[in-house]
Every structure is written in C-alpha cells, then in structure tokens.
C-alpha cells in the first residue's frame, strides 16, 4: 500500500501538483485510519491530505482514477447482468441484437437516472464499441471515447427521451418543469460520458499499467495552460478561473496598498483613545494614507494568433478596474481602435468580446498584424493623452509580417508614459526569430515579460498595479 501511495504521489508531482513530504506522510497516516475497502473514504482521505488547492482537484481525480482503478474493475467484472450480452459474441459495430438491447438499456438508464444502471450501460458500451484490442497506441483513450459515443448514439437517445412526456414532450409539463427535466437529462448524459471515460481508462490501465496511462493523461494545471494553444475545453475552464483570479488579485492589492506605509499620526484619535488608559497614549493612531492608483492603458494585438491571450488580459484588467484610477483599452491588427466602452456595463467576458468584434475597427489595410503602422496610428490618435501617471501595457507577439517596426513610436511613448510594459505570449526562445521584432521595441520598455499562462499573467498584473 505504501509503495502504491508513493507511486501515486510521484505521479501527482509529475502532473505539476506541489505535494510536500509532510503531506505524503499525512496521507500515509490517514490511510491507517480509514477502511481500505471503502473506496469513497479512501479517496476522500487522500484528497483531504494531498490536495490543498481547489484547482488541483481535477488533476487529482484523473490520476486517482488511473492509479487506483484496478480493484474496482475486477469487482465489476464479477458476473454483472450484462456480461452475457458481451459474451454472446455481439461483434463490435454490428447493429444486431447487442446494439438494440444496448439502446434500450441506454434509454432506461437515462430515464431513471440510476447511477448503477448508467455505469452498467457505460461498461457494456465500452465492451461492445470501444474496440480497445485493435488499438494499442499510447493514447489516453480519447479515440476510444469518441468511438464509443458515436456508436452509442447518445444524442439520438437524448432526442428520443426529450419527446417523452416525462421530459416535457407533447407539452406535458409547464415550461419551467420542461426546462428542469431536460437539464436533469443533460446531467445524466454527462454522468454517462464520465462513466464511459472512466471505464475506458480502467481497461487501458488493466492492459498497459497505471504509470503509462497516467503519463499519457498528463495535463497542465489550469494556471499553466498555454493561452496561445489552449483547446476549447481549456479555454472554457480558464474563463471560469478568471473571475476568482481577479478577485484574489484585487483583494491582495487592496491589502498591500493599505499596509504599504502608515499615514500621519492622528493626534485627535490618539488622545481620544488614550482616555481608556488614563491619558497615557499607549497606542498611537494613524490616518489612512492617501492612495495613489496608477492609470492603466492596455494596447492589445487581436489578430488571430494572439487573440485569446489578448481577451484574457483585457478581461482581467477590466475585472480589476477598481484597483486602477482609470483603465482604457485599445485593440489593433494593422489599425487601432479604442474599446474601453465595450467593457462598460458588460457583465461577462463573452459579451465584451462580442461587442469588440462587432464595433472595433482594427483593420486598416490588409488584416495582417502590422505593429509599426498600428503603433504609429495609436500614437497619432491617443498619444496626446498619455501622461506621467499612465502605465501602458502592450500585448502581442510582435510578429509584424516583415513590415517596418518603426521603433521611434515606442521611444516617444516611453518618454511620455510612466511605465511601458510589453507582454509576449510566445516562449522566450522564439523571440526575435522570423518576423518577430520584439528586440526593436524592448529597449524602450520598462519590462518585456513572457506571459504564456494565467499564472504569469496574474503575477504581472499584481506587480504593475
């Protein structure tokens, strides 16, 4: 058991989670207190001792599923009611009796929502359709998952069920009930998908061993996902973690400002407070210091390659607008436009992005990034407003498609502004390769920062405010 735990902890560390020795020891000790045959308690005991950040929970769950999966797979294999179905030789892809029976079971499981039935369907579906034997590549099971779901025709089943009166078909329910019933259906479908994924992993582990599957499954933690190359799921996840990040950063900044220096001695309050100790001023009282908040301008390249990164940065800065005396944002491709208004009253990132896409006029000539032209236009139109309290943050990979860089604009800008920072979402190793002109601009910036993920972005915003 201890060896298994050590392997598990190693895998968590390999996945990027910081697990300390103390935590490892705690986990080992905790395991002596929980019954090992109670999987829920076993998992909870490991989670509560090893995972110390909510964001790491998904990683933990994935690794746990792989590492401690064998026990459950053998238990399940002990003659479930559907084994005959698999054993009866219904060959994969054969839409014969096996498929029909499975479809009926799927409908029943989804209609009842019984977790045991859903798990059963997942198991059968994987056995019939996943075609694991034919496929011995070192994948993480995503192909098998896709294959199973396609063969199972889950969407078709959902459509069938939506037609039933129980789920609001034939107007049997009032609108709210229909909505709720259908959401419940979606939740059950999501659960089935998870079960299928878990079942595939169990089978992969049985075949290849936990270490190999865990390695194939390794995903970066949300804060380490590369913004430039994030998949759609990852972007959605990042979007969810953006608001908490903004809150946390804002709280930390507000706290830091308040405590950075104490204000002047407040004689009146000190004397008043000293009355409690017989007129002896034991505790001096201080006035709150006046806060000096910077004004921040974000100038972002929104051409295809770096658009996601620009959106996240704009959203983060605007979500924290309380921490700055003013926030103005500009977007450019080869022309430039101010988009501050798009964030006013916008409740979420999507609305703001939609408004930017609809309203901003960023293409002047051909629609490919031209940093020189865009910066010159920016300076001509808004340069007069840049003052000694303005911090300008430029976002982009500085890939100018071999247009002239015109670094004199940056020189002017850095003379007028308080600070100029450049955030580059590319890995540092790629800078100044090909059409990147970051080296031409760097001398005029107070800092050029590599900013590939939310962690680096958060660190930068905290430092600049």
């Amino acid at each position: 058991m201890l060896a298994a735990l050590a392997g598990f902890v190693d895998e968590l560390r390999a996945a990027g989670m910081p697990v300390s020795l103390t935590e490892h020891l705690d986990a080992a000790q905790a395991l002596t207190h929980v019954p090992l045959d109670d999987r829920g308690a076993f998992r909870a005991a490991l989670a509560t001792t090893l995972v110390k950040q909510a964001a790491h929970r998904a990683t933990f769950d994935a690794v746990f599923g792989v590492w401690f999966s064998l026990g459950r797979a053998t238990v399940l294999g002990d003659g479930g009611s559907g084994d005959d179905l698999v054993a009866s030789g219904a060959s994969p892809d054969d839409d014969g009796a096996g498929g029909d029976d499975l479809a009926a079971r799927l409908d029943a499981a989804l209609a009842s929502g019984d977790p045991a039935l859903l798990a059963e369907v997942a198991r059968l579906a994987v056995a019939l359709h996943a075609d694991l034997r034919a496929d011995r590549r070192l994948g993480a099971g995503s192909y098998e998952r896709y294959r199973t779901l396609r063969q199972l025709d889950l969407d078709g089943a959902l459509a069938r069920l939506r037609g039933r009166p129980q789920f609001g078909g034939d107007d049997a329910l009032d609108p709210l009930e229909t909505r709720l019933a259908r959401e419940e259906l979606e939740v059950r479908a999501a659960r089935l998908r998870e079960e299928i994924e878990a079942e595939i992993r169990r089978r992969l582990v049985a075949e290849r061993g936990a270490a190999s599957v865990a390695q194939a499954l390794r995903r970066p933690l949300p804060a380490d996902v590369e913004l430039m190359h994030a998949s759609r799921d990852e972007l959605a996840q990042l979007r969810r973690s953006l608001a908490p990040l903004a809150t946390a950063l804002a709280a930390r900044l507000a706290r830091r400002r308040r405590h950075r220096r104490r204000g002047h001695l407040d004689m009146r309050a000190t004397v008043r407070h000293s009355l409690g100790s017989g007129g002896v001023p034991v505790e001096p009282r201080f006035r709150r210091p006046h806060l000096a908040k910077p004004e921040i301008w974000v100038v972002a390249d929104v051409s295809g390659s770096v658009a996601a990164f620009a959106r996240f940065t704009l959203a983060l800065v605007h979500a924290m607008s309380g921490q700055f005396s003013a926030v103005r944002s500009f977007v450019f491709v080869d022309g430039v436009d101010e988009v501050t208004r798009c964030f006013e009253g916008a409740v979420d990132l999507d609305t703001a992005v939609r408004r930017i896409n609809a309203e901003a006029d960023v293409v002047a000539a051909e629609g490919h990034s031209d940093y020189g032209a865009a910066l010159e236009a920016f300076w001509a139109r808004y340069g007069a407003d840049v003052g000694p309290r303005t911090t300008v943050v430029l976002l982009g990979d500085a890939r100018s498609n071999y247009h002239p860089a015109r670094p004199w604009v940056m020189a002017e800008l850095s003379r007028a502004a308080r600070h100029v920072h450049w955030l580059n979402p590319e890995p540092r190793a790629y800078w100044d390769s090909g059409d990147s002109v970051i080296g031409d601009y760097a001398p005029y910036c107070d800092g050029v920062h590599e900013c590939r993920n939310l962690r680096q972005l958060g660190r930068f915003v905290e430092a600049v405010a």
């Binding site: 207190h33 002896v280 409740v347």
Partner: protein, 300 residues
Amino acid sequence: MSDGFDDIGAVGAGLAATGYLADDAIATAVYLAQALRKPVLVEGPAGTGKTELAKSVAAMTGARLIRLQCYEGLDESRALYEWDYRKQLLRIQAGQREQDGSSPGAGDQGWDGVEDDLFSERFLLTRPLLEAIRAPDPVVLLVDEVDRLEVETEALLLEVLSDYQVSIPELGTVAATRIPLVVLTSNNTRELSEALKRRCLYLPLDYPDVERERAIVMAKVPDVSERLAEQVARVVRSLRALDLQKPPSVSETLDWARTLVLLSIDHVDVERACHTLPLLLKHRGDLAKATKSLTVSGID
C-alpha cells in the same frame, strides 16, 4: 478529543442527527481531523455551510464552540492573549500607595513582588486561541474567514495549529490540556500560505448536488413537500449554471424554500419563480439575466 468517533459512518450519522448532511468528503475530513489531530481547512464560496459545519461538529460532540472571527488588522492581542494593562496600572498605583505608608527599604522587596504579580494569570486576558488551548473541557475551535488575515498575521496561527501550544514570554509555554478540534474557514479571497495549508487537512466545499441540496431543504425547512424540495433544488442548479456574479448559496436556497412554503406555493412555475427570484439573487445584473433566461427558455 478523547471521546472520539468510532468510524467515518458514525461521524456522518452524528452530523445528520444535528441537522447537518455530510457527504463522504466532509465526514472523512472530520473523522481524520480527530484521528490525526490536525486542523481542517474548509474552503468554498459563501453560504455553503462552512461555519455551520464547525457548529454542528461542536453540537455532535457536546463540545463548547470557541470562535475566532478573523478580520484585517487582527493581531496577537486579539487572537492569542493580552496583558490587562489598565488593571496592571491600577495595581502599580495601589502598590505605590501601600509603599508610601510603609518604611523605606521594603521598596525592593515590594517591586519584585509587584513584578511577579503583574505578569501572573490574574492580569492575563485570554483570547480565543489561548482559551481553546487551556480549556479543560472539550472544545471546538472555529477560526472563521482566515483569508481575511494578512499573510504576516497568519503566522500567529501556526504554533497553535501544529503544536497546540502558545508561548507567552512572561509565563512560558502553555500547552493544550486536551487537543481541541480546529476548523478553519476561508472564502478563498486569497491564496493562503503554504505553511498554513501544509498543517491542515483541506476540505473544499462547493455547492451541493441536487440530491444533497434536496435533502438539506427537506431537513431544514419544516412542512416542505418532497416535490417542492426537488423542484427548488433543480431550479437553483439551473440558476447556478448561468454564470452569475453571485450564484445562489445554500442558505439562500433555504430562504427561498421557506418563503415558498410561507406563501403556500406547492408548485413553482416561471411566473412565481421570477417573482421570488430576489430571494436567491442579490445583484441587479444577475436578476435580469436569470429572469430573461427563465422566460425565454419557457417559450421554446
């Protein structure tokens, strides 16, 4: 706590008896806290029953609940202990008066006596942390909203949390007579320090799933029908999926369920839901969004 729980199931049952419905993770964390003598750090959005958990654990074990409400600027003298300097001043003044009457030469003797006296337990004001350590009876220590502390002040907690002792320079080290069960709560407004987290068991609390929320409604709201509880739980889940500024919390769900019972509504439809939404959502933008979503989805 010497009178510990037998197993995880007993914790779950005990908490249920006090009206707190614990899932696997909660029961395991509470059980391990007692078995490993480690504090539990409960983290999650407001209104998910973090503070309630500590109260329920106290009620279950019959222990006294000692609460330290954290806030910015909380310091040693509010969290650990403080010398009652007003009383000390009075003591010195009283000593001087006695001395004026007595013969000179007795002064030195008098000062030693006064000094020993001044820093004795008579002049010690115990604050929650010290009180929890020194309590002869079983206690549950609740350190509420620990994320409001500054990072430097967090260090105050470390000695208490890992060694269950408090060092007072004038008195020496006060070790716990019996180890209290410690629950820390955090709203996650900032990342707590590694040092603190390492010493704790970590229990993230999120909004409950539909089944558990329905059970909570059934347990906490008298006279609610099973059907209404189910519907309430599902509407709330539906709202939480909407990407709101502040999704409805469990306590708001309970408020809503109570209101529906009070209005003798036994079946929620779109109109009734929209009229009572302000109980669940406390932001104007959220209200507008939810109302729109509920009415629009009703049409198609």
